[in-house]
């Protein structure tokens, strides 16, 4: 009982002392935060310095309703420095608030940076406790900072708009969202080449829009080449990342086009070693529905469906072959073939690893596509006036 009284006294004293002395080291009121939603990294050609553009949200403008105030809901600011961290520290001279990265959405590298190698620029974003691995990584086709300046058409903050575009784009499987974590995984892997979506500005003046156009392919941490939309989807077929999208094929009777909707797809990469040569088998399984057709052919018949499925498989195959060709040309293992070989034949890998650059373009790849058509939609046959 006595102890408890003393404990209580001690507690009170301690709480008093702690609350008076701790002085709230870490307290940051919300209005002391400059919430960063996007970062773009450029390189200044002449001085070789790093130019950092940050996009900061102005919450009050974001909430202001109706008329009054022409202010944008964001502010872009640039700073240069020898390192990323150095240029971030430079912002303390410009803002009363501290930059806050926990809610950063995108990280854009300029083409120069990507060509030079992103490794030294990425380090800060991995090391700093405030940054997150869920940041989306992009590569700009030109200057990165300008991308953040493009006024979005529907949303108020460009960085948020770009994340939405990326998400929408992934729905067509023409490009893929790449989180910093995925980028890092590929970067750290033995052979797999990192990829990131490419972003560019199209249009002039007030018509300017940011546009995703294909993917950037890295070799180690340096930019090696670009994939266009078809090649991108080819890549996504192989790595099993296709979520949805449309495949256009010629109608089997040759009188028009048929759009097929992808519902789900998966892939399986199986490496095999035959007579000392690596042989990779890619099996893609796809399922989809009929989206629309411009011919009058009736697909509500098993045989017609079968031919359609075959054409679809051929279309997928051609996309995959396109990207294979590109990958061989760039000599970048974007598919993770090396990793799959390593995982299956860890012992053999030791000697393969050193020669992988020579081996990769020669790998024999067998692409097997199994495409299925499941449903026809609300109507069974095209609306054909001749029928009635």
């Amino acid at each position: 009982m006595k102890n408890r009284v003393r404990l209580l006294k001690l507690t009170i004293i301690c709480v008093l002392i702690i609350s008076s002395t701790t002085g709230c080291w870490n307290r940051r009121e919300l209005d002391n935060l400059a919430i960063v939603t996007g970062i773009a990294i450029d390189k200044i050609k002449d001085s070789g310095k790093t130019q950092l553009t940050v996009q900061i949200v102005k919450p009050a403008e974001l909430k202001r309703e109706g008329g009054g105030g022409t202010g944008k809901a964001y502010v872009n600011n640039t700073n240069t420095g020898d390192t990323i961290f150095g240029s971030i520290r430079g912002f303390t001279h410009k803002f009363s608030q501290k930059l806050y990265f926990q809610h950063n959405q995108i990280l854009i590298f300029s083409l120069d940076i990507a060509k030079e190698g992103v490794q030294k620029y990425i380090d800060f974003f991995l090391r700093d406790p405030e940054t997150r691995l869920t940041v989306l990584v992009l590569v700009a086709k030109d200057k990165a900072g300008e991308i953040l300046d493009v006024e979005p058409q529907l949303q108020k903050i460009p960085a948020m708009d770009i994340t939405n575009i990326l998400e929408a784009q992934s729905a067509t499987s023409q490009s893929s969202q790449v989180k910093l974590e995925q980028f890092l995984t590929r970067l750290m892997s033995k052979t797999t080449a990192p990829i990131a979506p490419l972003i560019e500005i199209s249009g002039e003046g007030s018509e300017k829009v940011a546009l995703i156009s294909g993917m950037a392919v890295f070799k180690k941490d340096k930019l090696a080449g670009q994939l266009n939309a078809i090649e991108t989807r080819g890549l996504l077929w192989v790595i099993g990342e296709v979520k949805s999208g449309i495949i256009d094929v010629d109608s089997p009777d040759g009188n028009g086009k048929v759009s097929l909707e992808i519902v789900r797809a998966s892939s399986k990469i199986t490496p095999e070693i035959k007579d000392g040569k690596i042989h990779i088998k890619v099996k893609i399984t796809e399922e989809g529905n009929l989206g629309s057709q411009s011919s009058l052919e009736n697909y509500a018949l098993p045989r017609a469906v079968e031919s359609l499925e075959k054409m679809k498989a051929a279309a997928i195959r051609s996309e995959v072959l396109a990207v294979l060709k590109k990958a061989r040309k760039l000599n970048t293992d974007i598919f993770g073939f090396g990793d799959s070989v390593y995982k299956k034949y860890p012992k053999l890998w030791q000697e393969l690893e050193t020669r992988w650059d020579e081996i990769f373009p020669q790998i024999e790849v067998e692409v097997a596509v199994e495409a299925k058509l499941r449903r026809l939609g609300r109507i069974t046959e095209p609306a054909n006036p001749e029928k009635e």
Binding site: K2, R6, I13
Partner: protein, 72 residues
């Protein structure tokens, strides 16, 4: 800073010692004083900014340099 440290130690002493004396726990008092002293010396040195060999370095010396036991 030193003042704060001394105050903390005085506080602990004032908190524990009277009841110990009242209960005539001399042995406890002795051990208490000993522990407090042992705690006081390093904390004083730390506050004064004197570099002490860290415990990691001590065991590194014993195990790595004397006994040759270490990975890496």
């Amino acid at each position: 800073m030193i003042l704060l440290l001394v105050m903390a130690f005085t506080g602990v002493t004032l908190y524990e010692v009277p009841s110990l004396i009242r209960k005539k726990c001399w042995r406890e008092l002795f051990v208490f004083a000993f522990l407090l002293l042992v705690a006081f010396i390093p904390s004083l040195l730390l506050t004064l900014g004197i570099d002490l060999p860290t415990w990691s370095r001590v065991i590194e010396y014993v195990f790595k340099d004397l006994l040759r036991m270490s990975y890496k």
